[in-house]
Symmetry: C2
Subunit: 469 residues, 2 copies
């Protein structure tokens, strides 16, 4: 499949002096091997790989600073790399340059259970963090599906399941350290829960997609493991009924911890992949956190709402093992879905709208994709008004990509008209730069560009992302 259009900049060769300096300082941790470069120029997006010209594996903040300073001196791009799980072409070296891999900076530096905060290096993944936390009776709620790095999740303002109750990376990062475009180390925030001390540089870095700095440390909020956790699945006669149930649950203020939608196509895919034997009907997968009594109370309210919309066959899971079985359906949906059309690639949408407009957005999107005849499936963080439609494309048929792009653009235009956003959690990257302009207007994008120019005047930090040009 050809990559969708993005600036095909003519990339000058890497300055020999820079490469020599990196090789002298980093030895085998600076690689120009094509396999390593290609692995670092690929993400989960539909784009073809433009590999970086070299990859450096940093093992300390000082090393990150050194790489950035060398790149600044030679005006060569730097692309931060964590787990490689981003979805919008964030890692692609469209202007060449160095992929700065921080995955070896994977230490949990401090668990301050008494303050419900944790400080980690950038390459710590969410699963590794939760593994380190579980013996403390704590957990980190942000779960985008992939086992992403914390710094990558911050850089894309990730969320996923649990965000409906615990918020996104925006709400869960207290402070950062990052290396700026000059190779200097900047601290933001503190371990205090709130602060009014100057501009919110923490939030400025969150969602900046590597274009304003390279995150080298994060202090995040963690939460006590709830006394009781209960998960349930429930099937509905139509996707509209499932979505309206989710809408009403949110509108009446049930503090539901997770509220996920899988459409019939997604269920078929996970059944085929995992032999789960689920009923092949639209399904909500929900989870409740709280005291025993609180969880029971929430569950009772939700069952009542679901019944109004014909939701039935509630299946409950209160043990960790039973919950894992239910959640495997959700977590395997994306990869299982891709296997429904062997050899396919996917374009995945990410619109998010005010909760009252969710049914309208989903229903119209289904009508459009059905009319176009493309294979697809839907999963969604419907409690947040956010859902993903994955269009499954045959790489040998470029007209399918064109169709998917048209459907995606229609959906985004509708989401914006419904006062929502083109991206609830994946970011702008390469793919949504036009949508960003449509959504927020040229005045806001001009402000963003002014911030970028002020903090990265040479344009070396992940250039070509968020903004073209």
């Amino acid at each position: 499949m050809n990559a969708p259009a993005h600036p095909a900049a003519v990339v000058p060769p890497l300055p020999q002096e820079l490469l020599a300096a990196l090789q002298a300082e980093f030895g085998g941790r600076c690689s120009t091997a094509m396999a390593v470069r290609e692995q670092h120029g690929r993400d989960e997006s539909v784009f073809d790989v433009p590999p970086p010209q070299a990859v450096v594996f940093a093992e300390s903040e000082a090393e990150v600073a050194r790489v950035v300073a060398l790149c600044a001196a030679h005006r060569v791009p730097v692309i931060p790399y964590g787990a490689g799980s981003s979805l919008e072409g964030h890692l692609l070296a469209v202007r060449g340059g160095i992929s700065l891999d921080v995955s070896r900076m994977n230490q949990v530096l401090r668990i301050a259970a008494e303050d419900l905060t944790v400080t980690v290096q950038p390459g710590v993944t969410r699963k590794a963090l939760n593994e380190a936390l579980k013996h403390e009776g704590l957990f980190f709620p942000i779960d985008p599906g992939a086992d992403a790095s914390l710094a990558g999740m911050a850089a894309t303002r990730a969320s996923g399941t649990n965000a409906v109750r615990y918020g996104t990376m925006r709400e869960n990062v207290l402070g950062l350290r990052f290396v700026n475009a000059n190779g200097e180390i900047v601290r933001t925030g503190s371990r205090a829960k709130k602060s009014s001390a100057g501009y919110d540089l923490t939030r400025l870095l969150i969602g900046s997609e590597g274009t304003l700095g390279v995150i080298t440390e994060l202090t995040v909020k963690v939460h006590p493991l709830p006394e009781a956790v209960s998960a349930a699945i429930c099937f509905f006669p139509s996707i509209d009924a499932a979505v309206r149930t989710a809408m009403q649950v949110i509108q009446i203020g049930v503090p539901i911890a997770r509220c996920e939608l899988l459409d019939t196509n997604a269920i078929k895919a996970v059944n085929a992949h995992d032999r789960l034997g689920l009923k092949e009907e639209p399904m909500l997968l929900m989870e409740f956190h709280g005291s025993e009594a609180g969880v029971a109370e929430q569950a009772a309210v939700v069952q009542e709402v679901a019944a109004e919309y014909g939701g039935e066959a509630f299946e409950w899971a209160t043990t960790p093992e039973a919950r894992t079985r239910l959640w495997s359906a959700r977590h395997h949906a994306y990869l299982s879905g891709l296997q429904m059309r062997p050899g396919c690639r996917a374009v995945t949408t990410d619109t998010c709208v005010p909760i009252s407009r969710l049914a309208e957005n989903i229903n119209a999107s289904i009508d459009e994709v059905e009319a176009a005849g493309l294979p697809y499936f839907i999963v969604g963080h419907v409690g947040d008004g956010n859902f993903h439609m994955a269009y499954l494309l045959d790489p040998a048929r470029p007209e399918e990509l064109a169709t998917a792009e048209r459907l995606s653009a229609q959906m985004v235009a509708r989401a914006i008209a419904l006062e929502g956003t083109c991206t609830g959690e994946h970011g702008i990257g390469l793919h949504k730069q036009g949508f960003l302009l449509d959504e927020t207007g040229e005045e806001a994008v001009a402000v963003m560009r002014a911030v970028k120019a002020a903090l990265d005047p040479l344009g070396i930090l992940n250039p070509g992302k968020i903004f073209a040009g």
Copy 2:
């Protein structure tokens, strides 16, 4: 009392051409009367009044944009003015210029109950908003005490009671409209609950203290009125015992909605002022929101924790009237406290530390003020690790101000050493510029200055605040 040192810029006279243009366009809504100017150059801070050179009362976003554009053309400062309740000298015209009063832009534009969002003009105050919401079964939780304007609360990243459960302005604003330094209108955010669309300009404006733009509209989250609300007061043998109770309640994850401390001095003050007849001992004032069962469960846990620390004499209030009586103690504490020393002015601290360090910070601060012999009282949002010590100063005795400044600086240095912040919710303004540098380091302040220079190259937006120079 002499104002603490701040840049005593030589202010050139207002350009006649600018004044003529403003008077021609705004008529009586452009005032140079000294009484109006002085009222707009005063806030709740300890600083003497440097009045603006004129005041313009804007009645629309277009008028705000027009004033800023005219001021930009003449390079004259613009200071946004809402309710005048800020505490750190934010409104003071230290470089002269125009006070741009948006208090007449006080319309609630839209209540979207089905999405739990509200869109308001900048001058809407929190009490007016809650008045408009109460018939919808909704409320806006941020309560800094004063009846501040929503735009002012956003500009200072305000919080107050309720933040322990509902977050601060940082977490509760979905989107904004603001007028930038060129007089252009910029939109940020959307009505979607979450978004990864580009830099978080919403959060950049929140806490920017009028230095990056003039907020002209806000879309905020609102919440369903809880099914049950219960407030309680509880007295403790020592302030340490009260604080440790609050710490433990937070650490075990009770979703308490409000958790406020009043020290014995504050209780004496409200007793004298309101004849409340409260026991004159350190007191926690708490509130629980949820279902009937949930509230009862939270209350039981908290009573158990309090008992461990000798907390007793719980007094409960479940009716709105009874709650209002209890909360009047908290809301009148500041003004009642000032009346304990007639004619005094107050310097109020605002440190916020990780919850586990709160007792240490409060205890040491009390030891220091007792040793210095200054009259004081304490109120605190202790569930957030934030408290205010008000030093009551005799304006005729400048040495008291010097003592208060010394005590404040000691407390801030300690809070920073405890990994906290110099300001939990009041902002930097004029008073805490040195503390900002101590807290976050010169690299972070340099980044903030770069952002300021990029977005306000002429330096006309509330100059001299957050940063000197």
